[in-house]
């Protein structure tokens, strides 16, 4: 494999350990699995980088899920995720250890941390990748990202700069199962950690109202303008309850105040990749569909047979979504 001269001194695949809400947020484990594959192709190792205060538990989990090495920086100033403090530490580690690839989950924190690190070490970063492969000729990481709101896919490379950085959407890759017999190397770099005094975290509270976690939901039921009213939109919550799913909404439904902004799906809302999406009463406008087109199976219900949503549905039902949902709820209740 050929590599530009500058790049020859960079080795190793790193993954940022984003461990908040560890048991729901599996993206680091997914990236360790994919990173392991990339590392094997490049004949190098996969390292999980763990910053925080008392992080031993997460370090052990990452070894169990496939990391060859764990790099730990354990310090009280790293207790809260803070972009400026983390950027300084990680940029210094990158300059010292020179990984050729550095991956992070596209969590909210990852999406504001990675650009800052990339700028500091002056390298390229692609966001929200949906695929990662090594180009056999160049050894470069080919980063596939959605473009134009998801209508197109762009293959991006960072040929002259290192590390090649990318954030990856949760749910894109699959994690390896937990292996209690795994043993890895652990490295404790000697590094100064200082909190940035210009920013103070005053309060951090878990989001109230039974945490809406659409990004990790396996089943999403989403409603649009066609639901007609808040009472009828609320049926979707009943259905979601019965199917153990989460409820999403289109912009018109949010504007009509049938539910909260945090349930918005689409371009300015959340991107979801569930195993099943049931979309009811939404016509399929581009700003909405870019948020849901990653679902494995899409069932669409709309009274208009020409609604564009049917172009992307595995199963389309032409009819009154409210009536279908209401009756479905009744029948499911009878089965329980």
């Amino acid at each position: 494999m050929k590599k530009a001269d500058h790049n020859k001194s960079y080795h190793g695949v790193w993954v940022f350990g984003d461990y908040r809400h560890y048991f729901q947020n599996r993206v680091t484990l997914q990236l360790i699995a994919k990173g392991r594959e990339l590392a094997q192709t490049l004949e190098t190792s996969i390292t999980a980088l763990v910053l925080g205060d008392h992080v031993n538990q997460y370090a052990m989990e990452y070894v169990a899920h496939g990391a060859d090495k764990i790099m730990i920086v354990d310090h009280p100033a790293l207790k809260d995720y803070r972009v400026e403090t983390y950027t300084k530490v990680i940029a210094e580690l990158i300059e010292r250890y020179k990984p050729e690839i550095f991956l992070g989950g596209a969590t909210a924190f990852g999406r504001e941390l990675f650009p800052r690190i990339a700028k500091r070490v002056k390298t390229g970063l692609s966001a929200d990748c949906v695929a990662l492969e090594i180009d056999p000729e160049t050894g470069n990481l080919v980063q596939t990202t959605p473009a134009w709101g998801g209508e197109l896919l762009a293959d991006v490379v960072t040929p002259l700069h290192r590390p090649q950085m990318a954030t990856v959407h949760p749910g894109t890759f699959r994690e390896l199962p937990h292996d209690a017999s795994a043993v890895g190397r652990v490295i404790y770099p000697d590094i100064t950690v200082e909190a940035d005094g210009r920013v103070q975290l005053l309060r951090s509270k878990t989001q109230p109202k039974g945490k809406v976690n659409l990004e990790d939901a396996q089943i999403v039921i989403s409603g649009g303008r066609g639901m007609g009213s808040k009472d009828q939109f609320d049926l979707l919550f009943e259905l979601a309850d019965l199917l153990d799913g989460e409820v999403g909404a289109t912009r018109p439904a949010i504007r009509a105040e049938w539910t909260d902004e945090e349930r918005l799906l689409g371009q300015t809302g959340k991107i979801v990749k569930p195993k099943l999406l049931i979309t009811v009463g939404a016509s399929g406008a581009l700003q909405y569909t870019v948020g849901v087109q990653g679902a494995e199976v899409i069932v669409a219900i709309n009274r208009d047979p020409h609604a564009p949503i049917f172009n992307m549905a595995d199963l389309g039902l032409v009819g009154d979504g409210r009536a279908v949902v209401a009756q479905l709820i009744d029948e499911l209740r009878k089965r329980v």
Binding site: P115, R116, R203, Q207, E261, Q293, V297, L332
Partner: protein, 269 residues
């Protein structure tokens, strides 16, 4: 309080059409608008100006037609508009884009107390430019802000991040990116826009005005290159069923059973 707002002109998604044969976006003939989240940033700046006084400078890096977006911003109440336009800026990734914007901001007199950006754009959607400007200018950042409170020499801001509601105190100067939960952007009245088009306060800065070399900007100043653009594999249009509600429900139940979302009903019923 002096505020700089970075805006971007993007195609209006409401007027985008898809060329179904080639599975691409048809850009010609569509409208261009200010990126929705940048409108929210501008609105927040106008609100802060109303409370604290000071001036608002809007900046954009783009082709000459981006001037329309700047004039619209002037119409809403921004004081100065700067167009960063040069053929050398074309083909820039966020590393190069943030370099041009950061350099321009560093040349504002006086240096702004606050820089506001939309959290992400509707076209490229990375959300990288704000944090990268903050890094280059060595400013603290908070992204996705949905509440801003003014103190003497600091801001207290709130935002939602990975299921946590976080409240920060930031000393100034600082950079914030805003979410659409912060405030509703205003809609222009014709009077505002006409007034804006007759104002002369759009300055254009080129490569030399910013003291930059060609290899620091545009495609030459970028670290990432797009090597291939292809249409996302289209989802095959599946089965379409019409009929009475009962038929639709039956079909849906069969699908849910096939996916193991619900258990199959035992046949002995």
């Amino acid at each position: 309080m002096n505020i700089a707002v970075c805006i971007k002109q993007v195609p209006d998604t409401h007027t985008i059409r898809i060329d179904e044969k080639r599975m691409t976006i048809v850009r010609e003939g569509g409208d261009n608008v200010i990126n929705a989240l940048d409108c929210v940033a501008l609105e927040a700046a106008l609100d802060l100006k109303a409370r604290r006084g000071g001036s608002i400078t809007v900046l954009t890096m783009g082709p000459p037609q981006s001037e329309e977006a700047l004039r619209e911003a002037l119409g809403y109440g921004a004081d100065t508009a700067i167009l960063l336009s040069d053929p050398a800026f074309a083909g820039a990734d966020t590393l190069a884009t943030s370099h041009v914007l950061a350099r321009a901001i560093s040349r504002l007199e006086p240096f702004p107390d606050l820089i506001l950006c939309g959290k992400q754009t509707s076209d490229s959607d990375t959300g990288h430019v704000g944090p990268q400007i903050a890094e280059e200018l060595d400013l603290p950042q908070v992204c996705g802000v949905d509440e801003i409170h003014l103190e003497e020499n600091a801001l207290v801001v709130k935002r939602l991040s990975d299921g946590l509601v976080e409240t920060f105190r930031l000393s100034l100067p600082a950079l914030l990116t805003v979410s659409n939960a912060l405030c509703a952007p205003r809609r222009p009245s014709f009077g505002d826009l006409e007034a804006a088009f007759s104002m002369g306060s759009v300055r254009t800065w080129r490569l030399d005005d910013l003291g930059l070399n060609p290899d620091e900007v545009g495609a030459s100043g970028s670290a990432t290159w797009v090597v291939k653009l292809r249409s996302a594999p289209p989802k095959a249009r599946g089965e379409i069923v019409s009929g009475p509600t009962q038929d639709l429900v039956d079909r849906l139940i069969k699908k849910l059973e096939a996916l193991s979302v619900i258990d199959e009903e035992s046949r002995s019923q």
